[in-house]
Amino acid sequence: MTPTVVPGAARTARRFRGSRRTAVSWLFLAPFTLVFLLYTAIPTVAALGFSLTDLRGTDLRNPFAVEFTGLENYLRLFQDESFLRDILNTALFVAVGVPLTMGIGFALAVALNSGIRRLRRTFRIVFFAPVVTNIVAVALIWQYAFNADGTVNKVLGALGFAGPNWLDDPNLAMPVVILLGVWRNFGTAMVLFLAGLQAVPQDVYEAASLDGAGRWRQLRHITLPLLLPTTLMVSVLLTVFYLQVFDEPYLLTNGGPLGSTESVALYTYHQFGSGEFGMSSAASFVMLVLVMLVSIVQFRLLRPRA
C-alpha cells in the first residue's frame, strides 16, 4: 500500500487492475460460457429462427433450400388436432401428477419427521431410491409388470378380477404412465418437504402440545401454514418436471395407444424424427415459453430461501 503521488496515475492503475481482474474472472468463466453459448444461447435463438422456416432434416446438407415461412408453423401447430390433444395430455399429467406426488411426498416427510428413530435412515433411502434409478430400466420393469399376463394381473387374477391389458388400452395407459412419473418423483418431494420441516422450530410444537393441541391440530395449524413456501416451491418444481414429461410415455407406450399418452415433448421428438425440424422447433418454442413462465415464478419463490 504505497501512497501514490500523482492521482491520475492511481486511477489508471486502478482501472488497469480492474480490467485485469475482469479478464481473469472471465477466464475462470470461460469453459462454462463456451458451453452455454454453444448449447444453450445459440440453440435457443436458432430454435426461434428454425420455427419460422420450413427446415427439414434433409436440408442439413443443402441450407439454401430452406425458406422463411413466418408464423405458418405456429398456425399449423394450433390447427393440428394431435398437438392440441398432446397439450391436454400434458395438462392431465400435471393436474394429476403434481398433487399426487406432493401428497405422497408430504405424508412421508411428516411421518419421518414425527420423532421416530428406528429405521428412519432405511426408510429415507428406500423412498429416495426411485429418484436415482435409471428410467429406461424402470420402464422395462413397468412393461413386464403391467403386460396382459404380467405380475400385476397375476395378483388381480388371484383376487378374482380379470386384469386388463393396461398399456394397450387408451383409457388405462395414461394412469400407468402417470404412476411411473409419481413413483420416480415422490422421493424428491419428500426430501424437499423434510428440509422444510426441519426448519420449523421444535418449541412451537412443544408449546402447542402443552396447550393440549393433538397431532392433527398441530399438523393443520402449525405445520401446513409454516410449510407454505416449501409447498409452493415443490409444486412449481414438479409442474416444470411434468410439463416436460418425455421419458415415461416415450419408453412405456411411445405416446400410444392412439396418441392417448403423447406429451408435448414427445410430439416435438416425433416431429424431429420425421424430419420436420421447423414444426418441431415451433412446438418446442411453445414449450419453452410455458416452462419459462413457470420457472420465473419458481425463482421468485426460491429467492428468499437462497
Binding site: 474472472s25 472471465w26 468463466l29 452455454f36 428454425f50 423412498f127 429406461v136
Partner: protein, 293 residues
C-alpha cells in the same frame, strides 16, 4: 403464534391423553411406513426375480413372482451376444468426461461468481439462471444440428460435450463458495498470491463437499441421460447403456424376452444404486439443496 393462541382457547386436553396418543401412534405409523416401503420396492423385487428366470420359464408363466429355477443365463447373454460390455465402456467414458468437465468448469465459474468482482458478473449469473430454465425439448434440435456441424454426430464426445459444464453444478459451487469467508482469500491476496494460485491452493482444498456433490450429481445425470445419447448415437459402437438397453429391448427378436430385458435393466441401474447406498448424503444434498437434478 396466533394459531397456537387460538388452539389454547378452543381446546383443553389432559396432558395424559396427549402422552398416551403419542405412544399409540408409532406401531400404526411403522405399519404404514413399512407398507409404503414395500410398495416402493416392488419394481426392484420384480426386476431381480424376473432377471433370474429363463426364457422358457417366462414364456410358460409370464406373471410368476418368483423364479422356479434360478439362472444367470440372461446376464451372460447380455455380455456375450448383445454388446453390453461395449455399452458399459461407452457409458463410463462419457461419465468420466462429464464429471471431469463439471468439476473443473463449475469450480472455476462458481468461484468467480461468488468471490470475484468484475464487469459483466450479473450477466454471467443471469446466463447460469437462464441455462437452468431452458428446457431440453426447446434446444435439442439445434444442439443436434450443431453436433452434426462439429463433426461429432455418433461420437462419445458429441454425447458428452453439452453436459460438461452444467448450470446446476455452477449453481451448487457458487452457493458453496459464498459460505467461505472472504478474509481467507483476502489474506492470501495481501501476501501477493495471484487469483489462480488462490483458487488452486486455498479455494479448491476447501471446496471438498461441493466438489463431491458436483461429482455425484453430474455422474448421476450422465449415467442416466437417455434422450440426448439416443439422438446423437446412431450406431451400436457409440451406444451408452440406457440407449443400448432400449435398443436391445425394442429389437424384434427380444420383444417378449423379458428375462434378458430385466437383466439389462439391472446392469444399467446397479452402479448408481450402489453408489447411492454408500453416498446417499451427497445425492440427497444435491437435490434437496437445489430442487433440481
Amino acid at each position: 403464534m396466533t394459531t397456537v393462541a387460538s388452539v389454547r382457547e378452543t381446546e383443553m386436553i389432559d396432558d395424559r391423553v396427549a402422552v398416551r396418543r403419542r405412544s399409540v401412534t408409532p406401531p400404526l405409523l411403522y405399519g404404514a411406513l413399512v407398507l409404503c416401503a414395500l410398495l416402493t420396492l416392488l419394481p426392484f423385487v420384480w426386476v431381480i426375480s424376473g432377471s433370474l428366470r429363463s426364457l422358457d420359464e417366462i414364456r410358460s408363466d409370464p406373471g410368476a413372482w418368483l423364479p422356479h429355477d434360478v439362472t444367470l443365463g440372461n446376464f451372460t447373454r447380455l455380455f456375450a451376444t448383445e454388446g453390453f460390455g461395449g455399452f458399459m465402456a461407452n457409458s463410463i467414458v462419457v461419465a468420466i468426461i462429464v464429471v471431469a468437465g463439471n468439476v473443473v468448469a463449475a469450480s472455476a465459474a462458481g468461484y468467480a461468481l461468488a468471490k470475484l468482482d468484475f464487469t459483466g458478473k450479473r450477466l454471467a449469473f443471469g446466463a447460469v439462471m437462464a441455462a437452468l430454465m431452458v428446457p431440453f425439448t426447446a434446444v435439442f434440435v439445434t444442439q443436434f444440428v450443431i453436433t452434426v456441424d462439429l463433426g461429432m454426430a455418433d461420437t462419445l464426445a458429441g454425447i458428452a460435450l453439452p453436459s460438461v459444464a452444467m448450470p446446476l453444478s455452477v449453481f451448487i459451487m457458487r452457493q458453496y463458495a459464498m459460505s467461505i469467508p472472504d478474509e481467507l482469500l483476502e489474506a492470501a491476496r495481501i501476501d501477493g498470491a495471484g487469483e489462480f494460485r488462490i483458487f488452486f491452493r486455498i479455494f479448491l482444498p476447501l471446496g471438498g463437499p461441493a466438489v463431491a456433490t458436483i461429482t455425484i450429481m453430474s455422474f448421476l445425470s450422465s449415467w442416466n441421460n437417455f434422450i440426448w445419447p439416443l439422438i446423437v448415437a446412431q450406431s451400436m459402437s457409440s451406444y451408452t447403456l440406457p440407449v443400448g438397453l432400449a435398443a436391445t429391448s425394442q429389437a424384434a427378436s427380444h420383444v417378449t424376452d423379458y428375462g434378458l430385458q430385466l437383466a439389462g435393466a439391472i446392469v444399467v441401474m446397479l452402479p448408481v444404486l450402489v453408489l447411492f447406498l454408500f453416498l446417499q448424503r451427497y445425492f440427497v444434498q444435491g437435490i434437496a439443496g437445489t430442487g433440481m437434478r
